[in-house]
């Protein structure tokens, strides 16, 4: 029974998650803080002669990613654990819906919240860069590798959102079978590991032990590889980001999210609510 998925039901659950986050003051605080950090990058940029635009872009994208991670992990875990702890899930699961629909609805709901937040933060960054660009003389602008308001920023924001989808799925997956504290610890650990997992691929070049190297390679394939979603340096240094790269990275994200959500549904469908 857990496998049935009705799109309207999933969307209704997602809409309720979105409504919850819209009414959550904590979320506003996080986004506001991120916007302040982005605005503050304007001041920090002044400290580095000739590198202002790069600094603003780098700090701005980092802030979008970092605060997006906060929201994805901590709200992502609460999506399931709060429902179980407060027992609001009892009346909900008695309605004509499957547990798979519940999990997918929660995921889509948070993803839509994250999308709005990433857009808000990106718009704030573009405004800051636009204001800065407008105040600079043409001869200074001529020295920049890329214009202050660069379409590549949109590509970077899109890949950040794709990464946040993976992070949300990680948090959701852990929260379906363990306590919020453990789920937070596991999620943070896995996301950090995910940013360095590429190093595991070539572990045999560092270590002589074949078993350890094999284990590392196995881990490389299992752990999420989140590094490709980070294109800050390409944006900052005006390096090309090809459509193929974006498509492949997004495709990888979609597959990984699919695998995590499948696991989440399996765990959640077997769970007893004592």
């Amino acid at each position: 029974m857990s496998g049935r998925v009705s799109v309207p039901t999933v969307l209704r659950i997602a809409a309720n998650v979105f409504k919850e986050s819209v009414r959550d003051k904590v979320l506003y605080a996080i986004v506001l803080f991120a916007v302040i950090i982005i605005a503050a990058s304007l001041l920090l940029g002044q400290l580095t002669a000739g590198q202002e635009v790069k600094i603003i872009k780098d700090l701005g994208l980092a802030a979008i990613s970092l605060f997006g991670h906060f929201i994805a992990i901590f709200i992502g875990i609460g999506l399931v654990s709060k429902e179980v702890e407060r027992r609001s899930i009892y009346a909900l699961l008695a309605k004509p819906m499957s547990r798979a629909e519940f999990v997918l609805g929660k995921f889509l709901g948070l993803l839509s919240t994250l999308s709005v937040n990433v857009v808000v933060m990106t718009v704030a960054l573009v405004v800051v860069l636009g204001v800065y660009g407008a105040t600079q003389p043409a001869e200074i602008k001529a020295t920049w590798e890329a214009p202050s308001v660069d379409p590549a920023l949109g590509v970077a924001a899109f890949l950040i959102l794709a990464e946040l989808a993976v992070v949300t799925a990680i948090a959701l997956c852990f929260s379906t079978f363990t306590s919020p504290v453990l789920a937070s610890a596991f999620s943070v650990g896995l996301v950090i590991a995910g940013h360095f997992s590429a190093d595991l691929k070539n572990f045999e070049q560092v270590i002589d032990n074949k078993v350890a190297a094999g284990l590392a390679r196995g881990l490389y394939y299992v752990l999420p590889n989140l590094a490709p979603f980070d294109v800050k340096s390409q944006v900052v240094h005006a390096l090309p980001i090809t459509p193929l790269y974006v498509a492949l990275t997004t495709g990888y994200g979609v597959l990984y999210v699919g695998a995590l959500l499948t696991l989440a549904v399996l765990f959640f469908s077997r769970r007893d609510f004592k």
């Binding site: 409504k19 609001s88 899930i89 008695a94």
Partner: protein, 325 residues
């Protein structure tokens, strides 16, 4: 076809950290509830009532046994469209208003637009929350949440309604309203399965009851079947007597002082109560009342719970190992 049917339904929970042991919350529950019945599922706290309801709602999975609702297996989506459920001490999203919560749940049943709005509005009026419909649930009292819970359980005009301790948290007026609601649901031909440890609710509402204690079904049937109609004795109330009626009288079982000069005399069923009252009235008092004494639901309840007391709920390890889903 029964509206609700369980066969040898059992649930073990693992307790203990280092050496978890199976704790039997429900043991081999077999019962059938017919359509249109108001069925009272009675038992003391911790008897397994909520576990049974959670099993029926598939919030927990059985260790063994089977169950069906409206002839469909548990968890069947089409069956869920035809049932309603009020959990024990319910909690709902406190960031929503009563109106929004019911609209959300109505949407899950596929109701849209004006039909949904009309349904929500009617139900909130029915449970006495029409004026508070636009208030966020975080501002609701426990009794108001219970009323919202009842409304959401009825949002789809269910054929079978499961109510877990529906009177919990309600004041006397609220309890009266819920009793009237359950009777109305019965008159509409719906099946109501409700759990309670309040016996007077069962006596006034139920066509049939089951008593569970320590996870085991101790008795089930109509009140008339379970509570014997046989006369147990007579209760004669005398007032204004100068001294206590003699307990040593051959027709008297016990004498209890109620107030100064007022006594309750419990007489044997073989006695003629009027003759006995005249005899005892000779002490200078007057006869207040004569009542027949029968077995009550409370007697039965206490007897069954006492009988279950002292039994071990930890299943033997071998038996527990065979459990499946």
């Amino acid at each position: 076809m029964p509206a609700i049917e369980t066969h040898e339904l059992a649930k073990d929970y693992k307790v203990g950290f280092w050496r978890p042991r199976p704790y039997r919350a429900l043991d081999a529950l077999t019962l059938a509830v017919e359509p249109g019945e108001v069925f009272g599922f009675l038992g003391p706290n911790g008897a397994g009532k909520t576990t049974t309801l959670k099993l029926l709602m598939q919030l927990v999975y059985p260790t063994s046994g089977t169950a069906s609702i409206l002839g469909r297996p548990l968890g069947d989506i089409e069956m869920k469209r035809r049932i309603g459920y009020l959990p024990e001490n319910p909690y709902f999203y406190d960031y929503l208003t009563a109106d929004e919560l019911l609209s959300y749940f109505a949407g899950l049943f596929g109701y849209k637009g004006t039909e949904r709005a009309a349904r929500v509005s009617r139900l909130l009026d029915e449970v006495g929350l029409g004026a508070e419909r636009r208030l966020q649930l975080r501002k609701f009292s426990k009794g108001m949440i219970q009323r919202v819970g009842l409304a959401q359980a009825l949002i789809n005009d269910p054929e079978v309604i499961f109510l877990d301790e529906p009177m919990s948290g309600l004041d006397p007026l609220g309890r009266r309203d819920v009793r009237a609601l359950i009777l109305r649901l019965r008159d509409e031909g719906r099946t109501v399965f409700f759990s309670s440890h309040i016996l007077s609710d069962a006596e006034t509402l139920c066509s049939r009851i089951a008593i569970v204690a320590k996870g085991r079904l101790m008795a089930s049937g109509t009140l008339a079947d379970l509570v014997t109609a046989q006369l147990k004795g007579w209760e004669i109330i005398l007032d204004g007597v100068s001294q206590a009626p003699p307990a040593s009288h051959p027709g008297v079982r016990a004498v209890t002082a109620i107030a100064p000069g007022r006594y309750a005399v419990e007489a044997l069923p073989t006695e003629d109560p009027l003759r006995l009252a005249r005899e005892l009235g000779g002490l200078g008092g007057r006869l207040v009342s004569i009542a027949q004494l029968h077995d009550t639901l409370e007697d039965l309840f206490v007897r069954q719970v006492d009988q279950a007391a002292g039994t071990d709920r930890f299943a033997p390890p071998v038996a527990a190992a065979g459990g499946g889903r």
